[in-house]
């Protein structure tokens, strides 16, 4: 491996408006920006999965009610129906208007059935795109709240273009000309989460998770057994401190001792403090700079080995060059 001269990625560009690293994030709002700070607080990955999925954890609407004021929900994708697994609308954050969009899980089995366990259908993502556009049009910052096991994998989703709706939502966020702050509240399940997950700053609650596939799904594929989910969770590095280390999230929002579910008020207060500080900062950055930094933030993911460029091959003599050789070959026929 000594001939490798370049390793792409793993190096996060500084957040917009910052001068160096993410130190300012911590100074702003009591955030955790260094994974080593988490060493003493870490649980096992499987515990993290359980905590992130805890049904009594604060979910999107509760966070909106606690951290924002005067929320007015907006409904529907203007095409098919209103997806209850995605909520969103206009609210005020510390007195200033914002657009907020989140995935909504239920706090009971009954509510979970109504919310489809936080698994959006394509029309949910199309509603989200519509609200993203509202934010852009009226120069309002966008806050997204990620909390989903994943996009709904049923046949209706396939019929209505689950993949296309997710791709389009991601595309909308990558170029949305307004500040975006993402908060992972609990479960960040795959592409269905990423459809709300592209922003200028990505924060996560201390006990949240984010993964490319559920640990159960990974276990079924890798170990041919869903009961190996614990082992898969270990291998996938899906817990918040891992995500901080990998640069998938920029900072963690500390939860009350015992987890967010033990004190909803303290949790929403911490979220509010973090959001206000980040949006204050992002609001001072020109939109063009936000967009280029957002591009570079996601552009940087991936660790790749690339050997040094070799010297160009020596020029072939004229009679061996492609065009001349072909001429000869053709003449022979």
């Amino acid at each position: 491996m000594s001939m490798i001269d370049r390793i792409v990625g793993g190096l996060r560009p500084p957040a917009p408006g910052s001068t160096a690293g993410n130190g300012h994030l911590a100074a702003d709002a009591g955030l955790i920006v260094d994974a080593s700070e988490m060493t003493a607080r870490r649980t096992t990955p499987w515990m993290a999965v359980q905590t992130a999925r805890n049904i009594t954890r604060p979910h999107a609407l509760e966070v909106i009610a606690g951290a924002f004021e005067r929320f007015q929900e907006l409904h529907g994708d203007r095409s098919f129906r209103d997806d209850p697994a995605i909520v969103g609308g206009i609210a005020e954050l510390d007195g200033r208007p914002v657009v907020v969009v989140g995935q909504q899980k239920g706090a009971s089995t009954e509510e979970n059935i109504q919310r489809n366990f936080g698994m959006p259908h394509p029309e949910g993502y199309r509603k989200a795109i519509r609200l993203y556009r509202v934010a852009e049009k009226f120069h309002l910052p966008l806050v997204t709240l990620v909390d989903t096991p994943g996009a709904y994998p049923g046949p209706e989703g396939e019929e209505r273009g689950q993949a296309e709706s997710i791709a389009s939502a991601i595309r909308a966020l990558t170029t949305l000309a307004t500040p975006i702050v993402v908060v992972v509240l609990g479960e960040g399940g795959s592409g269905g989460a990423l459809a709300l997950g592209v922003g200028d700053i990505v924060l996560a609650l201390e006990n949240s998770i984010y993964s490319v596939i559920s640990p159960e799904g990974a276990a079924a594929i890798l170990f041919r057994s869903a009961t190996e989910a614990e082992r898969a969770a270990q291998a996938m590095r899906l817990a918040a401190p891992d995500l901080l280390e990998l640069g998938v999230v920029d900072a963690l929002i500390p939860e009350p001792a015992g987890g967010a579910h033990t004190d909803h008020d303290a949790t929403t207060r911490a979220i509010k403090t973090a959001l206000v500080a980040q949006l204050d900062r992002l609001a001072r950055v020109p939109v063009a700079d936000l967009l280029s930094t957002r591009y570079e933030r996601f552009r940087a993911f991936g660790t790749i080995l690339e050997p040094p460029n070799e010297a160009p091959a020596p020029r072939r003599p004229w009679w061996a060059r492609g065009s001349v050789r072909d001429l000869f070959l053709r003449m022979r026929i």
Binding site: I7, V8, G9, G10, A151, Y152, P153, G154, P155, G157, E158, E159, R160, G161, Q162, A163, E164, I166, A167, S168, I170, R171, L173, T174, T175, S190, G191, L194, G197, V198, Y210, S211, V212, I213, G217, A218, I221, L222, F223, A232, A235, M236, R237, L238, L243, L246, V248, R294, Y295, F298, R299, F301, G302, T303, I304, L305, E306, P307, G322, D326
Partner: protein, 283 residues
Amino acid sequence: MRLRNPFGRRPKEFPSHLWTQCPSCGEMLFNKQLARNLNVCTKCGHHFKLGAKERVEILADPRSFRETDADLSSTDPLGFVDSKPYPERIAAAQAKTGRRDAVITGDAALAGIPVVLAVMDFEFMGGSMGGVVGEKVTRAAERALAERKPLVIVAASGGARMQEGTIALMQMAKTIGAIARLDAAGIPFVTVLTDPTTGGVLASFASLGDIVLAEPGALIGFSGARVTSETIGEKLPTGFQRAEFLLEHGFVDQVVPRDQLKERIGFFLNAFRVAGQDLRWSL
């Protein structure tokens, strides 16, 4: 492949290195003839998978293809171990395919039009997208933007590469970011969905072509059919998640037989050039 015998002849007459049975019509096909017919059944038109190299050959004009970024290979960002360590899996896939990762990219002429071409290789870890696929697709899109050439991507993938975890997931945002810049610059982007195109690749750049074409019978879907089937607890209808299903539901523009693909892509690229009036990419 196990040989079934439709005409009462004994299986030993069809050694598998010489013959392949069509899963659609049962016809025994002579391998050389199958390859000559672009891996399409001569009797019923069933489209077998086609290797990435062969795919480049049927799309790029003769001798026009110049591969780029062929040397990029993956590291192991998570230190991932399942039944064996991820670096061993990569090494095995590299040995099997002779390629560094699951996509070939390069510059080519397609029906006389200079394009940037990316062809995914299902043989390499199921065409899964990790950092290398994401980087090469992104570089292809960035080169298409810089040189104002259309981008053509042939997708074949099981989705994001699990062994790279959220880093693989982030490739969806990374590639889409580059595609969005093409979109804003008015540069044509055509995707061809081949068997199979699923998961994180379908849910990122593959679905976002100005024109989305698919090969007949290709499996195309967000979730694995097994997951979907388990979710609803019943068997799925025949044809579910096939190219024709997506055409019917409005998510691909056309289902195009393999032997017509090049001509069709060329037609669209030419039309976009004319419609621009101002020759928006240099030829």
